[in-house]
Amino acid sequence: MAEENTVPKEQLTPFERLEIIRNKNRPTIRDYIPMIFTDFYEMHGDRLFGDDGAVLGGIGRFKNMPVTVIAEVKGRDIYENKSANFAMPHPEGYRKAIRLARQAEKFHRPVICFIDTPGAFCGVEAEKRGQGEAIARSLAEFMTLRTPVISVVLGEGGSGGALALGVCDELAMLENAIYSVISPRGFASILWRDASREKEACNIMKITAADAVHLGVAERIIAEPPGGAHNDPETTAENISEFLANSLNNKIGKDIDVLLNGRYNKFRKIGAFTE
């Protein structure tokens, strides 16, 4: 693919990008699904405890090919946000993701993940049901899943809650999306005990799509229309589709063990040390 798909089109500061992805009109996965997939059927539940509204899963067609879609759900209004818990999954959300991923493997469908979360939910029930175990299991399961996995960060890629859907063969980020070890607010609050220094945190955390490419975490940047995806959701959806089509073409038919070694090594080589 062309080299320009690894550099952003617009020059903006990380904080300006954060403001764009926080725009209340920014398209969510529920906007994109009808624009990207056909015959889409949503599937519910982890078969263990319940159904988490923060993680959407389903089966549909991408350019006629059956695929499994797993996505974190940002709400478009207060009602959607209530049922989606502001895109902060509980353990059952990750366990639903694992269930549907294994099902995709069984029926030889690729898995397409969409990441859009401030992070996994922090609460009493989440701890009781094993938030840590659920995320860990997701990382381990996706690493060994014998079918292609492609992930796209739509907006916020926050912490382990994002990474749980990010163990994949190829990761793309929308041009203004961010991916970070913790939310900039959380970062400021931990390191400086002052959450209001969010803007400063943004500028040193290396959270933009270009940073993620530079650090070997993301492979592609998907262009957004000037000013952000909300200015033209259809064009953004077309750009996402174009990336998915290219990426799937490269992955499908590839020897699965070669693919799995590639997936492992993608993460294996990330780290900076001397010896």
Partner: protein, 289 residues
């Protein structure tokens, strides 16, 4: 070193009002952060750093852990000189690492190697909370990953003593990716049929709980240690309520189904050796144990 331990446990468990309490003598006393009971350091050491009053299993250095776990003289360290860099050019990170190295005598927050425990050969890793709260950056991720890979290659059991404040903020996204890297390596060891035992020690939290610490075939915890994903204060902020004392304790985790057994420090060596023996291949009825 023990002074740091005081500071850390006091910070974690609240302790007394710092300003009003009399200064702790430099040499002698250990004051338990759980029961406020005290004893002298020698007595504490003889008791394997477990509070004689309430049984709190206090935080110990990786060196002390290895000393009470491995057969004497059997430990051979891996990747001894591996040291961190500054992948996201975080301000002052190198200086912070350097000063911690001088202060603690450690190069990083985990020590890995090979040893025997009651004669049973295994690969062992011990995290040390005195080094940046044993947060997981590149070095921790790489050493842990290599421990998994070596366990698979050498067909040896792997035992990891976990302790961590979570991700290493100063390494940003690179730190986060260590979760995927280590969990992937754990998954590969599992596929190769290797035995992996985790021992959760005080405190095991955040990104380490959400990666390799939760993936053991057998998960052991020391009594009363703190284990959880989110920080207590973060959750209290969300629910606007004080959480009960035992929230995120080893016992809480066991009750909720995430810990196989709680094992006292004085029984740990024997338990680990027994568990390794139970997994030795090719054992038959009527054979020797």
């Amino acid at each position: 070193m023990l002074e740091d331990l005081f500071k850390m446990v006091t910070a974690r468990w609240g302790g007394d009002d710092d300003d009003n309490s009399p200064p702790v003598p430099q040499t002698a006393l250990f004051k338990c952060p759980r029961c406020s009971g005290s004893c002298d350091n020698e007595a504490l050491e003889r008791n394997m750093w477990v509070c004689p009053e309430c049984g709190y299993h206090s935080r110990i250095s990786a060196a002390d852990r290895l000393a009470i776990t491995c057969d004497s003289g059997s430990f051979m360290e891996y990747d001894k000189d591996m040291a961190g860099q500054n992948p996201i050019d975080f301000p002052d990170y190198e200086d912070k690492i350097r000063s911690l190295q001088e202060k603690t005598g450690l190069t990083e927050a985990v020590i890995t190697g090979e040893c025997t425990i009651h004669g049973e050969k295994c690969i062992i890793g011990v995290m040390d909370s005195h080094f940046m709260m044993a947060s997981m950056g590149s070095v921790v991720g790489e050493k842990i990953t290599r421990a998994f890979e070596r366990a698979a290659e050498k067909r040896l059991p792997l035992i990891l003593f976990t302790a961590s404040g979570g991700a290493r903020m100063q390494e940003g996204l690179v730190s986060l990716m260590q979760m995927a890297k280590t969990s992937g390596a754990a998954a590969r060891l599992a596929q190769a049929g290797g035995l992996y035992i985790t021992v959760l020690t005080d405190p095991t939290t955040g990104g380490v709980t959400a990666s390799f610490a939760s993936l053991g075939d057998i998960i052991i915890a020391e009594p009363k240690v703190l284990v959880g994903f989110a920080g207590r204060r973060v959750i209290e902020g969300t629910i606007r309520q004080r959480l009960p004392e035992d929230f995120q304790s080893a016992e809480f985790l066991q009750e909720n189904g995430f810990v196989d057994m709680i094992c006292e420090r004085r029984n740990m060596r024997r338990t680990l050796a027994h568990l390794i023996r139970l997994h030795r291949p090719g054992q038959r009825m009527g054979g020797e144990t």
